[in-house]
Amino acid sequence: MPLCNRHLSPLQRRSIQLFGANLTLTAVLTMGAHEFYKQAHPAVVFVYLLAGVLTIPVIGVIVVAGRYLKRETDEFIRMMVVQSLLWGLGVTFAMDTFLGGLFAFPEIYRLIPILNLDLFCVTCGFALRIQLWRNR
């Protein structure tokens, strides 16, 4: 099965590593930003700057996905990856809409600390696994 550890091409292995690095960066930046907000009470301009910094891993994931799709020579694998990315986007948008509906109720909303990028990457991974299994 392609995209399993044994059969990964160098491009696939590198892309998965970069995905992982971006996810780790998201976790570190998000936790760091929350701590910074709580303890330093920064000026508004720093809040905006920090919010901008938080988008770096999101842009990074898009760049990694684009780079992979551009370089992947197997068109069937490429098609499955594109479909998985669409599943990831769809589930993330749906969850965002759902959470948006709960935004008016802070006591419920606070209980669901899900990051968009985590949800997107996990959904993409599941969708790709299912597609690889269906086309094994």
Partner: protein, 76 residues
């Protein structure tokens, strides 16, 4: 789109993995093309035709296209 890939491959005694290696694609790609789940791009179709020393039209048949047995029946 229907195709004769499985027949052509069997005539040469190649496995799906053999054909995939010759085409430099994954075995899943070959399987998906053979089962009609996936239509290859024109460059890949040309590579297949070159590999089997045949024309693209002799490997791939459009759904509903007339065959040697006569024109296809219209869909009801």
């Amino acid at each position: 789109m229907k195709n004769r890939l499985r027949v052509l491959r069997a005539e040469r005694g190649w496995s799906q993995a053999d054909l995939a290696a010759r085409l430099e694609v994954s075995r899943q790609s070959v399987n998906a093309i053979e089962t009609g789940k996936f239509d290859p791009s024109l460059p890949l179709a040309f590579r297949l035709a070159r590999l089997f020393e045949a024309t693209i039209e002799s490997i791939f048949v459009e759904d509903g296209a007339p065959t040697e047995q006569g024109p296809a029946k219209p869909e009801v």
